[in-house]
């Protein structure tokens, strides 16, 4: 079973349940790949000993009644893991060892999975290329010298390179969907409140949502089923019955109405993306869905709104890093204030400092109404756009990103052009609605491209079904040559 790491999560779970392969064999196969995959820099911390001992415990007394029996999983290093350092990709937390476990990872472990390692990400999840991490750039396995997207870049890279059978990321403005699109994988941002935020290093609390990143849509349904659900420890968690997404998954999408928003046809978008969008429309139509032209008139304001709301919340959330209770402390400074200032100056990277300054500025006296309140009002209008169209359609189809993966360093010195990466993904975060990126084709350089499906609040099942149908008809084939093993 040398090709076990090529299999989907669902197939691996089936093989374990049928006793055709042992958890320890699966775990060893992935550990082997991680060891050979160092060039990708997708792991910050390896938990091989933990994974091996947990796999042996599983094999000695297997429980097949769980969703993820005996499966090793690497997770984004933004999820706190009890006793395993959690860095958020920052020097500030380089040596931080949580004394608690995030709700989501707790749920995954209670479904039979165990930790394989912690995955690289942009510092505090602020970035779209995984170039802001204190632990270095992550490389896209699809092509050398290319970014994997961000902020969940380590997650996307490790998944596409077969270093983990599935993974989880977080998505504040596109941080799951954009890297999924860049690496030819599936990534879903759930409805705000579906997955608990407890124990996740906070970036922008009204936008942050964790979600699955997987090789197939079936895997995505399985992971979402395992990680979602009510949590009394998160005051924004939605209290509702748990869904059986994987059991209900179907390719039957007959009669569903799919909106095509004209505002997502942006200037300078490559022809290939336009063609990909057409391909998606055609597939859904052939499968029995009805395609309807719609308008989301405030789309162009989503990104400017996001770049007020997200930094404002970040500046408040990151105020906690003061060098006192945990994390890095500067040795410079003669009094408390200087200690704070030097700690935060040396502990945070450039992009994080930039966003804290933007956030502090828009919340400061005299500017609060003009920027922050204004942005919250426009956010209301953006949400209303979606409320209006969802009286007419069941889901919306758009490209996931305005371009394919770009070269490392290409956009690093131009914040605005980097921010524009998230132009299609940010609206769903502002409106708190679910969205999934599905790989559908390649560009002329053979880089993968994804399409995004945006759904109604708690419409994850409909999105998964549409994605499942699109996946089965798109003939997308991931053809990665493992150049990093040479």
């Amino acid at each position: 079973m040398s090709e076990i790491t090529k299999k989907s999560l669902t197939e691996t779970v089936d093989l374990i349940k049928k006793k055709e392969i042992k958890s320890e064999e699966v775990t060893n196969a992935y550990i082997n790949n991680v060891k050979k995959g160092k060039k990708l820099n997708s792991f910050i911390t390896e938990s091989f000993d933990n994974a091996l001992s947990k796999s042996k415990i599983f094999d000695a007394k297997p429980n097949y009644e769980t969703l993820l029996p005996g499966v090793p999983l690497a997770v984004k290093d933004l999820f706190c893991t009890n006793g395993v350092r959690t860095t958020a990709g920052s020097k500030m937390l380089e040596n931080f060892i949580p004394a608690y476990e995030s709700t989501i990872t707790t749920k995954l472990w209670s479904e039979g999975a165990f930790l394989l390692g912690k995955l690289n990400c942009d510092e505090y999840a602020m970035g779209s290329s995984n170039e802001t991490s204190f632990f270095g750039n992550v490389i896209n396995p699809v092509k050398e010298n290319t970014v994997p997207g961000g902020s969940s870049g380590g997650s996307a890279s490790a998944l596409a390179a077969d270093l983990t059978p599935a993974t989880i990321g977080t998505d504040t403005g596109g941080s799951i969907r954009q890297p999924a699109s860049f690496t030819g994988t599936v990534g879903l941002k759930p409805t705000y409140g579906l997955c608990s935020r407890w124990g996740i290093v906070a970036f922008a609390s009204s936008l942050d949502q964790a979600g699955p990143m997987t090789k197939t849509v079936s895997d995505c349904a399985l992971m979402l089923e395992a990680m979602s659900g009510f949590d009394p420890k998160d005051s924004t968690s939605i209290d509702r019955k748990k869904e059986n997404y994987s059991k209900k998954l179907t390719k039957n999408i007959k009669g569903l109405k799919i909106g095509i928003p004209k505002e997502y046809r942006v200037e300078g978008m490559p022809n290939e993306i336009e063609e990909l969008w057409e391909k998606g429309k055609k597939i859904l139509k052939e499968e029995g869905a009805e395609i309807i032209d719609i308008s989301l008139p405030h789309t162009e304001y989503a990104l400017p709104t996001y770049y007020i709301v997200a930094p404002a919340e970040a500046s408040s959330n990151l105020a906690r890093y003061d060098g006192v209770k945990y994390g890095f402390r500067s040795s410079k400074g003669s009094n408390l204030i200087e200690m704070y200032e030097n700690t935060r100056s040396e502990g945070f990277g450039d992009e994080v400092k930039r966003r804290i300054l933007i956030g502090t500025y828009v919340l400061s006296s005299g500017y609060y109404d003009a920027y922050y309140i204004k942005a919250q009002k426009v956010r209301q209008l953006i949400k209303r756009d979606f409320d209006n169209v969802f009286t007419k359609v069941d889901a919306i189809l758009t490209p996931s990103t305005p371009s394919a993966a770009f070269k490392i360093g290409e956009k690093k010195d131009d914040p605005i052009s980097m921010y524009l990466n998230d132009i299609f993904t940010v609206p769903a975060n502002l409106a708190g609605i679910p969205a999934v990126s599905v790989p559908v084709g390649h560009d002329k350089n053979n880089l993968p491209l994804g399409l995004q499906l945006i759904g109604k609040p708690l419409g994850e099942q409909t999105l998964l079904n549409l994605a499942f149908s699109m996946e089965s008809k798109s003939n997308f084939k991931q053809d990665i040559i493992k150049w990093w093993e040479k």
């Binding site: 004394a99 770049y307 200087e338 300054l357 708190g432």
Partner: protein, 95 residues
Amino acid sequence: MSIDKDKIKHTAKLARISIDKNKIESLSKDLSNIFNFIEKLSKINTDKVNPLTSILDHSLRTREDKVTDGGIRDKILENSPNKNEEFFIVPKVIE
């Protein structure tokens, strides 16, 4: 809108971040560009729109005021960069 050097210094003070003198210039340029981009919002009339403060239908839950956790002083102190057996240690505050 331009974010000049004085505004950068003032905001950095509020955010408790010391900024390297050599970096103020480029930071001022970056932030000015970002604010020019953000300015787009002033084009929309929002006089009759309520700010969106939460996208959830329910208001934030409260819980009964009872202890659910605690007694983990040592665990909490473990991650501190400077502590003794009972306290976090910081530079002297009171002369």
